[in-house]
Subunit: 334 residues, 2 copies
C-alpha cells in the first residue's frame, strides 16, 4: 500500500518536496472514524507515548507522595527544549526523591533549542543529562522506582522491573502486544516497540475518555492529559509545535510528537484519539498534518480553526527574512 | 508516477521510516544510462549547482586576476560549515576585490556545524554573513562583479546583471530553460530555478567532460571540478558528506549536495553525470543514496566500494553511544 501525500513543501508557487504518510482517528472502542494510508502497519511511537509511559508515576502514588503539580506531570510526558525551566524542574523532581542528575541514564546532549544551547555555551557551561529532551520522563521513572522501592540502576533496560511496569501500561492502554521481536532502542536508551498505528489512536482515545480502562488508571490518564494541556510549555517549550497546538487548543486538545514523524493526540470532548506517521520521518510535515487534522475534526468551530491555520500551513522565510515558501496541507484527507 | 523507496531507516531490525526518490545518470549528450522514478519532473537544484554558478568567476578572468587557488574555487562552489577556515577564506576573497562582509547579501546564520556555532558562542562572538554556508559562492559573485565593473548592490536579484550571466551559464550547461514561471528564492536570496532532473545530470556530465561546451567554458568547468576534488574540505567541512565522499573518491568523483534532498555529481573517467532528488527533501537519504550510486557506477572496484560502504549504510548511535539503527540503501536501483 502506497501512502498518499499529506503535505507539500512549496518554494514560490512550485512544489519542492512531498511528504507521504498515514493517519487514523479512533474512538475508545477502536471504531475507526477516519483512516488514510496504511493504518495497520507497525510504527515506533517513540516519544509520542510518554503520557502512557507516565501512568505508573501517578498510579503508584509517587506523584502525590512527592507533591508533583501539573508542571512536573507535564514534564514527565515531555520532549522538552532543555530550557532552564525544564532542566531545573527535572532536577527538583529528582531531589524530591532523594536522587540527582547522576542517576539519570538518558545520556547528555546540547539543548534541542539552538538559542538555549548557545546561551549555555556563552555562559561557559556544558549540558548535562537534565538538558536531555527526555529528562522529565526519566525523572518520572526514577521517582516511580524510589517510591516503589525498586533499585533504580539499569532502569532503562527492557528487563528492568520499571520497564516491565511501563510496558504493561502500554499494552493495556493500546491493546497491542509489545514484544521483543518488534523492539528497538530509543534515543534515550529505553525500549520502544513498533505497534500498529491504529492501536496508538485507540490508546489515546482511551487515555482521553477513560473508557476501557480501570477506574484507577482512567483517573491517572485524565490527570496526565489535563496536566499537559494546562502546562504545554513543560511538554515542549519555546517555538515548539506541541506547545503551540495545546495553547491554541485551550484545554480541548492533547497532542504529543514522537521522533521520525509520529504524532499522537486526542480531542476529549469528541471522545476521539488519533495517530499519524509521516513515512519519511519528517517533523515539519507531521506538525502541519496534525494541525490540519485538528481543524478537520473541529469543523464548524471557526475561531478554533483560525488559531491552527498558521501551524497547518506554515510559511518559510530565509536568512534575509524574505518569504520563500511554506508547507501546504490538504483541505480534507480523502 | 510514484517514486520508489531508495533508502530505508532502520531501528533495530525494523524499518522505521522510508525515503522515496528519483535519480538519473546521463552522458554529456543526454543519453540516459540509468533512470529511477520521475526523472523528467522539475526540481529546484538549490546549492547542488554552485559549481555551474561559479563558471563566470573563472570565465571572466576574475579568479586569475585575484590569484585564486583551488581553495577559493572550491569555496565558491561550497555549502560550508562556517568553520573558521571557511569564513576566513571568504573574507580574504572579498578583500582581494576591495570588498568586505558588508557587501554580502546572503544574510547571517549561526554556523551549520553545531560545534562551530558553540565555539563562537563560547568566545562571546556572534556570526556574520561570512559564516553563512553560501558565503563562498556570494564572494565569488562579488569578485566577478568587481572584475567586470558591474555595480554589486542587489546582485542577488534575478534582474541584476550578475544573475543574468549566472542564469545564461546554467541554461547553456544544463540545456534547460530557466524561466520566471519556475523561479523560487533560495535560502541565501538568489534565484533558484526548477528544471528537469535529467537536465542536471546531463549538465554535470558536460561540466566533467567538457563535451558540448565551448572550449573556454569547458576549461573553466574542468578547473572548478578539479578544485572541488582537490580541496573537499572547502566544499563542505568537518563530518560532511560532500567532503567525505570526495575524499573517498580520491580525485575521481565530484559531488555536491543541495537543500531538500538534491544531490548532483559526476564521475569524469566514466564521462557520466548524475542527479537525484529525495522527494521528501531529506539530506540523510540523499547522502546515503549518492554513495550507493557511486558504488554501483564503479562496480568491480572493490577498494573504492569499501571506502563508500559506511556512507551508503550509515549507523545511528544514541546519546549513550548505543547502536540503535541506521540507513539501508538497495544493492541495485531497479
Amino acid at each position: 500500500m502506497t501512502n498518499p501525500v499529506l503535505a507539500e513543501v512549496l518554494r514560490g508557487e512550485e512544489v519542492e518536496s512531498r511528504h507521504r504518510g498515514s493517519l487514523v482517528v479512533c474512538d475508545a472502542a477502536g471504531g475507526v472514524v477516519l483512516a488514510v494510508g496504511d493504518v495497520e502497519g507497525r510504527v515506533f511511537p517513540r516519544s509520542a507515548v510518554k503520557s502512557i509511559q507516565a501512568l505508573p508515576l501517578v498510579e503508584s502514588g509517587a506523584a502525590d507522595a512527592f507533591g508533583f503539580t501539573n508542571k512536573e506531570l507535564a514534564l514527565a510526558c515531555a520532549s522538552h527544549n532543555g530550557e532552564p525551566e525544564h532542566a531545573a524542574r527535572a532536577q527538583s523532581m529528582l531531589e524530591k526523591a532523594g536522587l540527582g542528575e547522576a542517576d539519570l541514564e538518558c545520556g547528555t546532549h546540547w539543548p534541542s533549542r539552538q538559542n538555549t544551547a548557545l546561551d549555555l555555551a556563552k555562559g561557559g557551561k556544558h549540558p548535562n543529562q537534565l538538558h536531555n529532551n527526555c529528562s522529565g520522563k526519566h525523572s518520572g521513572f526514577l521517582c516511580t522506582c524510589a517510591h516503589q522501592h525498586i533499585a533504580p540502576r539499569g532502569y532503562v533496560t527492557a528487563e528492568h522491573r520499571l520497564q516491565e511496569i511501563v510496558r504493561d501500561a502500554m499494552e493495556s492502554v493500546t491493546g497491542a502486544k509489545h514484544d521483543a521481536a518488534h523492539r528497538g532502542i530509543d534515543g534515550c536508551s529505553i525500549p520502544t516497540y513498533a505497534v500498529p498505528l491504529k492501536s496508538l489512536a485507540r490508546g489515546f482515545a482511551r487515555m482521553a475518555t477513560g473508557e476501557g480502562l480501570e477506574p484507577h488508571r482512567a483517573a491517572a490518564a485524565r490527570r496526565l492529559f489535563a496536566a499537559c494541556m494546562a502546562e504545554p510549555f513543560f511538554v515542549a517549550g519555546t517555538d515548539r509545535a506541541d506547545t503551540a497546538i495545546m495553547r491554541a487548543g485551550e484545554g480541548r486538545v492533547m497532542v504529543k510528537i514522537g521522533a521520525e514523524g509520529v504524532y499522537c493526540g486526542a480531542v476529549p470532548e469528541l471522545g476521539l484519539g488519533f495517530a499519524l506517521k509521516c513515512e519519511d520521518g519528517a517533523s515539519r510535515a507531521a506538525e502541519a498534518i496534525v494541525a490540519r487534522l485538528l481543524v478537520i475534526l473541529m469543523r464548524g468551530d471557526e475561531a478554533f480553526a483560525e488559531r491552527f491555520e498558521q501551524i497547518a500551513n506554515p510559511i518559510f522565510t530565509n536568512w534575509n527574512g524574505l518569504v520563500v515558501g511554506g508547507v501546504r496541507t490538504p483541505e480534507a484527507f480523502a
